[in-house]
Amino acid sequence: PHFILELPDSDDALCFNINDKPGTIFNLVKDTKSGILVNGQTIGDKQIPPDGKIYTYFWRFGIIHRNLGVRMEVSTKGISVIQDGNRIRLQWSNTTSLKGDNMDILVTKDRSLTVTLKDSVKFVILLHKVWEKHPYHRDYLGFYTLDTHLLSPSVHGMLGQFYHGLEYEVTNLRPGEVPEKPDATMYVKGHELNVTRGWQRDFRRDVKNGENVPCWFIHNNGTGLIDGDISDYIVSGLF
């Protein structure tokens, strides 16, 4: 999966990829104070493609809002919400809207799920539907956080650690391997990293083609940008 951090204050974005064995579960957001947890499980392609690279994607997210008593499991197959012991199942194939005291849910048929949790976070999960008979690819999900400012300063996780901003500096722009992708030096979190100008896709407006977001790409699983390394974010279960 590719991670993008869009930072409007610097009118720029940072991006990195995380690659690990299919089936790994990563912690994306963890805010013990507000009781929010988001974990995601990856899936690989149906078979190893001709270039030999194993690509992984998120296909299942587990979301908990402890203080609101909400627990959700969102996968490419369907959506399941448990609140105060009541379970609701929603289908991707229907447009559905639910309004509760603490939570609003909107499913747009075969496209997206928007969840607003009262006084804490708003996020969108996109469903990427792939042709069923595609030789390699399967359906997968994208997770986009929209409003995070109510989360506590101690929020962490692969995405959560960036919710309260990031100070970085990019300098020493120089030619890279590809003319359109120059290299540069990034100073971030006390590290000096070699980064490459590139672009990644944001599928919120156009779920099929996406829109290119130019970004500074941090190599090697985001090493230096994320706190620790990816093994620090691997968890044993979805909840």
């Binding site: 999966p1 997770f143 359109e180 120059p182 672009w199 130019p214």
Partner: protein
Amino acid sequence: MQDLTVEVLSVKVDCVVMSRFAHTVITSTALNKANVSQEIFFEVDLPKTAFITNFSMEIDGQVYVGEVKEKEKAKKQYEKAVSSGQTAGLVKVSGRKMEKFSVSVNIAAKSNVTFVLTHEELLQRKLGQYEILTRVKPKQLVQEFQIVANIYEPQGIASVDAHATFLTNDLLPMVEKTVTEKKAHIAFSPTLDQQRKCPDCDGTLIDGDFVISYDVKRATSLGDIQIVNGYFVHYFAPPDLPRVPTNVVFVIDRSGSMSGNKMHQTRWAMKAILSDLKEDDHFAIVEFDHSIECWKETLIKATKDNVDKAIEYADLLRPRGGTDINSALLRGLKMLLEDKAEKRVPERSVDMIILLTDGMPSSGETNPTRIQENLAAANGGNTTLFSLGFGNDVDYGFLNVLSQKNNGLARRIFEASDAVLQLQGFYEEVSSPLLSEVDLRYPDNAVGFLTTNHFSQLFNGSEIVVAGRLLDNDLDNMLVEVVGQGFEENFQVQGQTSALDWGTIYPDDKYIFGDFTERLWAYLTIQQLLDKSNTVSQDEKENATAKALEMSLQYSFVTPLTSMVVTKPEIENKTDSPLIANKLTEEERQAAERAHPHFHTMSSRPFPSLTAHAPPSYFVDGD
């Protein structure tokens, strides 16, 4: 000036403008107070549109005068010194509008030196103003400091303004301004105390730009024609013409190299420019990297709704792949030609393409010459191309020729925080055409050696200038005609013009600048020959270059084809290398900037200002 063992006795800037032609003499005298000989430096900033015409140094009563020589010959003559770099760089880039002339000379103990530099230029009318820019930086208090400008405009002076970046409220009244109907006098000569940064210190306040801007009265639709000493000059900028609607295709580079500031600034500039479109304009947006993407398939009217949508679209501009300038321009041109043929745009309208790019073609047709040929062939002279080259790495020469071959011009956009203003400013200059296909006609049997007299467009706030030589020296009047295409009807005026009686116009002034019309004609002719040599065949290029060189030598202009050579005096048996001043070309300026780039850094600020229009977004997805 290096230290207090050198005293700057005087700095004088004396500028005389006669009908837009500015003749500036900068004189500075310094005294070596030390008991030993030492090097004294003279550094002057002059507008890059100016040609140096004279330089001299007077040391102990002996005058050393610069001589304008053919550049190649001067180079050979002083090959050794040039190759060892001793003489290189007498003229250097200094900011966007100026270049710096600097020399140093060894002065004996207790001796004086006086430097005199003269330069000339034709002031260009931009956005309704002529501007005289003087950059002053004496570095120490000067006994006698003076900037004087006398502007003579027989057409009449409409407005004059003088300001300086270093002028405090205390110094403001020191600028003396006297304006009569046809003459303006501006003077600034602060005393030693007025120059001081503070009462007891030696630092000087005088450090920055002194800018005089003015405009002339424009009463007649034929313009103003002046005949002096066998040469004539015609200034054409008629008043009260309605604007002609434009059909403009914005061809915007979104290749990967535009990433960061350039793309951000492009988005802002597009918002500003699109908002400035007039309701009767038609426009289109073509984005390109290695692929071409048109916002709409045809040009559309610049209604508020359409402009709002276009702004939304421009806001989504993001850098991505390679650079296919050829296909993008041809696509934009095709759109214009088709819309014109299908009458989807008004018949009386001006077609233009505005190309914004930062780089060399890297995709599709990448041969610059072929791209230039392709567009010129497809265009057939119908559409004007303005190219805006963004940043230090842009191939200005390529864009300049590309534009010149299509009736337009190229402009460099400097990558800095004001790039949006530069882009918007350029658009302002060209967004209001008043006439198209303008021809200024003079009797064939009466005038010759004409500078360009056909212009694709006349823009609001600008001015067309044509000069020529009278074939009959006794002729003091002639018939002049101007034709062009206006908004609703053809523009056609005729008139008889006669030689001015300068004695009547300026009875109190001696004949200051008698040959200005001839020098103005030479200046314009050389500029146009140099431009022409970029766009014509090899044979024609050689002819144009030879003619420009001949005239540069004849009129003693330091142009890209000539050098000014000054032989320095021998002091204490030490032989100095000669001084050679060259005129920089735009490519040389750019190369110099590339070698010493401004420091660029991108950094993020800490977050509390999250109230920005776009919230941050963090997400994970897969391709």
